[in-house]
Subunit: 708 residues, 2 copies
C-alpha cells in the first residue's frame, strides 16, 4: 500500500478496543501505563522517556504532512520513505537529470536541491490535553449546529493562540469521539531540501507488483534536510539558510535487529475505525463498501468502453483507471479481510459485552446511554450512502470544475481564516493545478457518458437528499447543450473563473457554470445538516466513549484512541507469520532481490547493486545470523496510512529501519487488529547503509550520521 | 505452467546426470536397481512390481497424448487433469450448457459425452529394449544422411511390425542420445467420453494468475471413460460401445498423504535437456534464449504498435500476444533459474570431471572421444540460431499458409507412410483448421509489418544459411504487390489450395504462392542437411553417452535417460521448501481457497463449495493433522511437461492425487534438477473426493471407484 498520505474514506475519528499484545497506537502520554509490558517485551530505555516530547527519542520525530520522518543527524538530516520524497525527486528531474531512475546524491550542502513546492517538515514540540479548554460554552442545551460552531470556535481560538508563536503549526483533534481533545504543536520548517535518494530501482523496487506483498525487497528510503535562517528562525528557501540543528536525533544502531527483537515506531497514523459501533462497521462492510465498489467497477467499465479503440482517450483516462484500480484493491482487501476475521460478529460480541456492563447498572445506563448515538449513526449512515451516490456527479469533470470555481468565489468573500478548509489562500495553487490537469484527463464524449451514468446513481438517492433546483436547471439545459455550449473545456477559460466574482457566475450563460450555481444552495444546506449532526454526534459519541473508557478501566485495561493523524507510539516484535501453504519468515535478503531482478520495469535495481550482491560484497552490513544482507523485515508494530517513513527503533531507542508498508491481508487492521495477521514491513537499516556505503558512495551522509 | 502438451523447443533428446535424492525420471526397467533406495524412502510395495507393465500399478497408467492419466475403476474410468480434458469440455459446451463454467456430470453411462475429435486414451502395454533391432546395417562407414535413413528405416520396420496388432500404437525412441532404443507399445482407445469435470471455478481456480505459483488452490482434475466394442476391440465412437475393462486400476487410498510421506508418479514426461554438453547449455542460455526472447519482444511490440487503437485488430492478435507472453514467462523463468543456480558453471564442472576421467585412460580416450560431438554441436548450434531467425518469416501468416499448402501438395505425391511427419492423411484436419483460423487472427496491414520485421531478422543469418532463390523472387514481386494481389486472405481461396496439385502452384500468379514455391528447394536442402547432421550426431552422441554410462557405473551410480515422451517413474516425498522471506509449507487448505475467492474471473469457485467451506462441512475428507480439508500439496517428485494428469501414488501404490504443475522458480529443472528448489504441485485426492461427494453429488463415480 505504501502507508502515506492517501487517506481512504472512513466513518469517523474514533478510538480503540481491548488491546492484544503489540496492538495499539498509543498517545505518548499513555506510555507510562505500558511501562511494565514494555519492559517485559524487551525495552531497555526508561519507559518514562517515551512520554517526554522534550527528549530523545520522541523529539527527534517529525511529520512531512501525510508521511512520518525523523532526524538522523545533528545537522537536520531527515530520514523517511522513498515514496514520501518521490514528488521532490520528480520535481527536480529534467532531461539529462533523471533522478527518479538514477537516484540523487548531493555532493555537499550547497548541492542539496529544494524539495517540491509546499514541502514541509513539522518537528513535534508538544501534544497536550486541552479537553478543559474546549469545554467553555459547550452545554447540553445547545442544538447540534450551535454545539458544532461552539466547538469550532474554541478549537480555532486554541490554535490561533498556539500559532502566535513564530512558525508553529498547531492543531486540536478529537480523541475518543470528542471525550478528549489534544493540542499538537509542531515547528514548521519551510526550507526543505532533497539530500539523497537511491535509484528508483532500489527505492521503489517491485513497484505496483510487489505493493502490499511479502516477500518484499524495496529499499523505500530517502533523505531530506531541514534548513532555517542563520538566526535559527524558520523561513522559506533562501541561499543564505543553514542546516537546522534539531534538539535530538536518532542514533543509528551499531547492529540491526534479529527475529523476535523488540521494536517500536513513533509517527503520525492517519485514520482507523477500531472503536466504531457494530452498526457502523456493519453498514460500512455490508452496504457502503459494496456500493462504492460497484460504483468503481461501473466507473472504470464505462471509461474502458468509452475509450476503447481510441488511443488518445485511453491515455487520458489511464491515471483515473489506475486510481480506481487502487481503490478497488483496497476495498477488496478490506472486505475480504472483514469476511475472513468475521468482523461483524466480532464487533457485535464486543459491543454486546460492553453494553451488558452498561445496562447492569442503572446509573451507568443513564450516563452512557447509547440510544441517541445509535439513532444518529443510522442517520449518518444513510447520509453517507446518499453522498456517495451524489458525489458521482463530480466524475463529470467540467461540473466538478465549475462547482469548485464558484465555491472559490463565494469563500473568497470571507476573511481567509473563516473560509472552509480547502478554500483558503494557501489552497489556490492546488486548485489551479487540479483545474489545469483536466486538460490531460478529459474527453467530452467520455465525460458525458460518465455524467449520464452518474445521474442514474444520483436518482437512486431519496428525494429528500436530492436537489430539486439542480435537477430543474439540468432539465432546462439538457445534456446536449451542456456539452455543446460550455467553454470550460478550454483550460485558459476554465482557469479564468478563479478570478471572477460570484456575480459573474450568477450572470453567466455557460451551462456548466449555471449548473454549479444551481447546486450551491443545496450544497450549503447539506453542509449545515452535516454540521448539525456532527455536533449531536460529538455529544452522543463522547458520552459513549467515556463509558467504554470506564469499562476498560473496570477491567484493568487501557484504551488507546483511534488514529487521527497525531503523534502515536507503537511497539511489537520482529516476527513472521503463517498463511495457507506458507510461513512468512521475517527477513528478506539481497539474494532474494537479485532473484527478482529482471533489469526492466519494476524490477530494475542498478547493475552495481546486482554485481555487489553477486559478489556477496556486503562489507560490515551483513547479518551474521542470516549469513547475508537483509533487505526488508516484518514486525507486529501497529501502523496505518500516515506512518509511512516512521523510523523503527530498537529496545535502546536506536534507528534500525523505516516502516513503509503492510500486507494486503492485513488492511482490515484499520477496523480490527489481529496479531496473527497484521504485519508491518520495514526497510532494514543495514540495507540502507549498504546502499549508501557500497552502491552510492554516500560517505558524507554516513559520517554525519556517526556511522563508522 | 500446467504440465501438459505444450512442448517448448529444446536442444535434443538426451539424458540425465548424477542423481541426487528424489531426482530421476526412471525407466520402469531401471526400478529394480533403485530397490534399496525405494525401500529406505518408504515404499512398501515390492519394488519389482514397478518394473512390470503387466501388473498394477503400472499397467493402470495411460497416456492421452501430451497428458498422462490412469484408470481408477474396473469400468474404464480415467482420471487426469482438468486442463487435459478442457478441450472436450469446451467441445461439448453450447448455449444453455456452459460446462466450462458449470462443470459436467453424466448421470449414467449413456449420458457420457464424446470427447473432442481426435481424443485418445493410450494404455501402456510394453516398453522394451530394441537397441539390437535398430542396429542392422548401421555401420561406421555410412555417411550422416545414410546413417539417418538407415535408422529411420529400421525404426519404421519395428513400428510397422508392432502396429500389425490391432489398435496398437507403437513408437521407437532414442535414449541416451541413441546409445539405446526402446519400443513403446500402447493400446489405442478411440472412443473416449467425458464422464465428469468439476466447475471451471474448481478445475481452473486461480487461472493464469496462480499458474506456476504457490500457494495454489486449483482442483485440476476431470474424468474420461474409455469405451470399446462389445467384443472388446478398440473402435471409434458407437452407441453400441461398452465401457472398457482395464486389466488394472488404481485403488483410491483410504487416507491421504501427510508431510514427509513417500509418493511416486508414473507418466509420460515430454522433454528434458539434463545430459546436454556444457557447450549446448551455454549456447542455449547465453545465445539462443536471449535471441528468442528478443524476437518475442520485438514481435509483440510490433503487434501492439500496429494494432493500437484498432479494436478489431487488437482482438484478432490477442491470442498471438497471449501465446508470446506465455513463452516470455517460460524463457524468463528458465533464464533466471539458470542464472540463480549457476547452470553454466555447474555443467562445466560436471563435464570437466567426466572428461578428466575419460582422458585419464588412453583406451577410454579413443572410445569416448568427444571431438566429433563438440564440432557437430557447434554446427547444430549455429544452425539452430539461423533457423530461429529465418522462422520469423512464418509470422507473415499468408506466407506460412502458402508454404504449408505447397508442401502438402508435394508430400501427397508419396504414399502416406513415407511422408514427412505432419503431412500424413491424419494431419489434413489440423492443417485445415490452422489455415481456417487465420481469418480470426489476420490483418493485412499488421501481417505486412511483421513480414518487414522478419526480413530484417532473416538477413541477419549468414548468406550460406539464407535462400537466394527466395530472395530473388521476393525482390521481383515486392511487398506492395505481395499484399495487393494475393487472394490467400480469403479463407475459401486459401483452403482450396489444399486440393490442388503441385503443378498448379508452380503455374500460379498468386505472389504468396510464388514465394512458397521459390522457398521449397531451399527448405528441402536444409532438411537434408539437418538429417545429415542428425545421423552424425547420433553416432557421436551415443558414443559420448556410453562413456557417461560407463563413468556412472564406475562410480556406482545409475543414470536415467532424459525425458522423451515415454513412460517414466519418479518418486519423492511430500515436503515444502524455503525461499527468500518465506517457507512454503506442503499443503494448502479449503480456507485458503475461500480466502482467494472473489466470485469473479479466475477466482470464482461455485457458491456451494464456498458455503460448505464456511460451514467447515468436510465430511470424512478432512486431514486430521491439518484440522481441515487439504486442496493441493507439494512434493519432490521429478516431472516435466507431459506429466500433467499423472496419478500420484502412496507407498502402497494407491491413488492420493494428481500431479498438475510446478513453480516458476523450478522450470530450470528441465536442465538441472535441484532438490532444494524443484517441487511438483498435486491436487489432493481428498479435495477431489470432497468435491465429488459434497459439491457435485457424484456418488455414482465414487461407488464405481470403490469409495465408501
Amino acid at each position: 500500500m505504501k502507508k502515506h498520505a492517501i487517506v481512504f474514506g472512513t466513518l469517523g475519528l474514533l478510538t480503540a478496543m481491548p488491546a492484544s499484545a503489540d496492538e495499539g497506537m498509543w498517545l505518548p502520554s499513555q506510555t507510562p501505563r505500558l511501562a511494565q509490558t514494555l519492559k517485559e517485551q524487551g525495552l531497555t530505555l526508561d519507559p518514562a522517556t517515551l512520554a517526554n516530547l522534550q527528549r530523545a527519542p520522541l523529539n527527534a520525530i517529525a511529520s512531512l504532512g501525510g508521511c512520518s520522518a525523523a532526524f538522523l543527524s545533528p545537522q537536520g538530516l531527515v530520514a523517511t520513505n522513498h515514496h514520501c520524497v518521490y514528488g521532490s525527486i520528480q520535481y527536480n528531474s529534467k532531461p539529462g537529470h533523471d533522478y527518479l531512475t538514477d537516484g540523487f546524491l548531493a555532493a555537499s550542502f550547497g548541492d542539496e536541491l529544494p524539495a517540491a513546492p509546499g514541502s514541509r517538515i513539522y518537528v513535534i514540540e508538544d501534544l497536550r490535553d486541552v479537553t478543559r479548554e474546549m469545554n467553555p460554552g459547550v452545554t447540553t442545551r445547545l442544538g447540534g449546529l450551535q454545539r458544532f460552531d461552539r466547538l469550532e470556535a474554541n478549537r480555532k481560538a486554541l490554535i490561533a493562540a498556539c500559532e502566535r508563536q513564530a512558525s508553529r503549526r498547531c492543531d486540536v483533534r478529537a480523541y475518543f469521539g470528542g471525550a478528549t481533545y489534544y493540542l499538537q504543536q509542531q515547528l514548521e520548517i519551510k526550507d526543505v531540501r532533497l539530500a539523497y535518494a537511491p535509484a528508483g530501482g532500489i527505492g521503489s523496487f517491485g513497484g505496483e507488483t510487489d505493493n502490499w506483498m511479502w516477500p518484499r525487497h524495496t529499499g523505500d528510503f530517502g533523505f531530506y534536510r531541514a534548513y532555517v535562517a542563520p538566526d535559527g528562525s524558520s523561513v522559506p528557501f533562501s541561499a543564505a539558510n543553514v542546516p537546522y540543528k534539531p534538539k535530538s536525533w536518532l542514533k543509528v544502531a551499531a547492529e540491526g535487529v534479529k527475529e523476535n527483537d523488540f521494536v517500536m515506531v513513533a509517527g503520525f497514523p492517519g485514520t482507523t475505525s477500531r472503536l466504531v459501533t457494530a452498526a457502523e462497521a456493519k453498514f460500512n462492510f455490508n452496504t457502503l463498501y459494496p456500493v462504492q465498489q460497484k460504483l468503481l467497477y461501473d466507473y472504470s467499465d464505462a471509461i474502458e468502453k468509452a475509450t476503447a479503440g481510441g488511443e488518445d482517450a485511453t491515455i487520458k483516462y489511464a491515471s483515473i483507471i489506475r486510481s480506481a484500480d487502487n481503490y478497488k484493491k483496497k476495498y477488496l482487501g478490506e472486505m475480504s479481510g472483514a469476511d475472513r476475521i468475521g468482523l461483524n460478529a466480532l464487533k457485535e460480541a464486543e459491543q454486546a459485552e460492553y453494553r451488558a456492563w452498561i445496562s447492569s447498572d442503572p446509573a451507568r445506563s443513564r450516563k452512557f446511554d447509547s440510544t441517541a448515538l445509535d439513532a444518529l449513526v443510522a442517520e449518518a449512515n444513510q447520509s453517507a450512502l446518499d453522498n456517495v451516490r451524489m458525489a458521482t456527479l463530480s466524475r463529470a469533470q467540467l461540473l466538478g470544475a465549475a462547482r469548485t470555481a464558484y465555491r472559490w468565489s463565494k469563500e473568497r468573500q470571507k476573511p481567509d481564516a473563516e473560509r472552509e478548509s480547502g478554500f483558503q489562500d494557501r489552497d489556490r495553487l492546488p486548485i489551479e493545478q487540479r483545474l489545469t490537469q483536466i486538460e490531460r484527463r478529459f474527453v467530452p464524449k467520455v465525460d458525458r457518458l460518465l455524467l449520464e451514468q452518474a445521474l442514474v446513481e444520483y436518482r437512486k438517492a431519496p428525494p429528500t437528499s436530492r436537489d430539486a433546483t439542480f435537477e430543474a436547471k439540468l432539465a432546462e439545459i439538457g445534456l446536449d447543450r451542456l456539452y455543446a455550449e460550455t467553454r470550460l473545456g478550454d483550460t485558459a477559460a476554465r482557469l479564468a473563473w478563479l478570478d471572477k466574482g460570484s456575480a459573474e457566475f450568477e450572470a453567466s450563460s455557460d451551462p456548466f457554470i449555471q449548473l454549479a450555481v444551481a447546486q450551491y444552495g443545496g450544497d450549503i444546506a447539506r453542509e449545515r445538516q452535516t454540521k448539525e449532526r456532527s455536533g449531536k454526534l460529538q455529544a452522543a459519541r463522547s458520552a459513549y466513549m467515556q463509558g467504554m473508557l470506564a469499562y476498560a478501566q473496570a477491567q484493568g485495561r487501557t484504551l488507546y484512541p483511534d488514529a487521527n493523524g497525531s503523534l502515536r507510539f507503537t511497539y511489537g516484535k520482529v516476527t513472521g507469520k503463517s498463511v495457507d501453504g506458507q510461513i512468512w519468515t521475517p527477513f528478506t535478503t539481497a539474494e532474494g532481490l537479485a532473484a527478482k531482478q529482471t533489469g526492466k520495469g519494476e524490477f530494475n535495481a542498478p547493475q552495481k547493486a546486482i554485481d555487489l550482491i553477486k559478489a556477496k560484497d556486503y562489507g560490515r552490513w551483513a547479518a551474521p545470523e542470516l549469513g547475508t544482507l537483509p533487505v526488508d523485515f516484518m514486525s507486529t508494530v501497529d501502523i496505518t496510512n500516515g506512518n509511512s517513513g516512521s523510523s523503527t527503533l530498537n529496545a535502546r531507542g536506536e534507528f534500525v529501519g523505516l516502516a513503509f508498508d503492510g500486507t494486503l491481508d492485513g488492511v482490515i487492521a484499520d477496523w480490527s487488529y489481529d496479531p496473527t495477521i497484521n504485519r508491518t514491513i520495514h526497510v532494514d537499516s543495514r540495507f540502507m547503509l549498504w546502499t549508501m556505503d557500497k552502491v552510492d558512495n554516500a560517505g558524507r551522509l554516513l559520517a554525519e550520521m556517526g556511522v563508522r
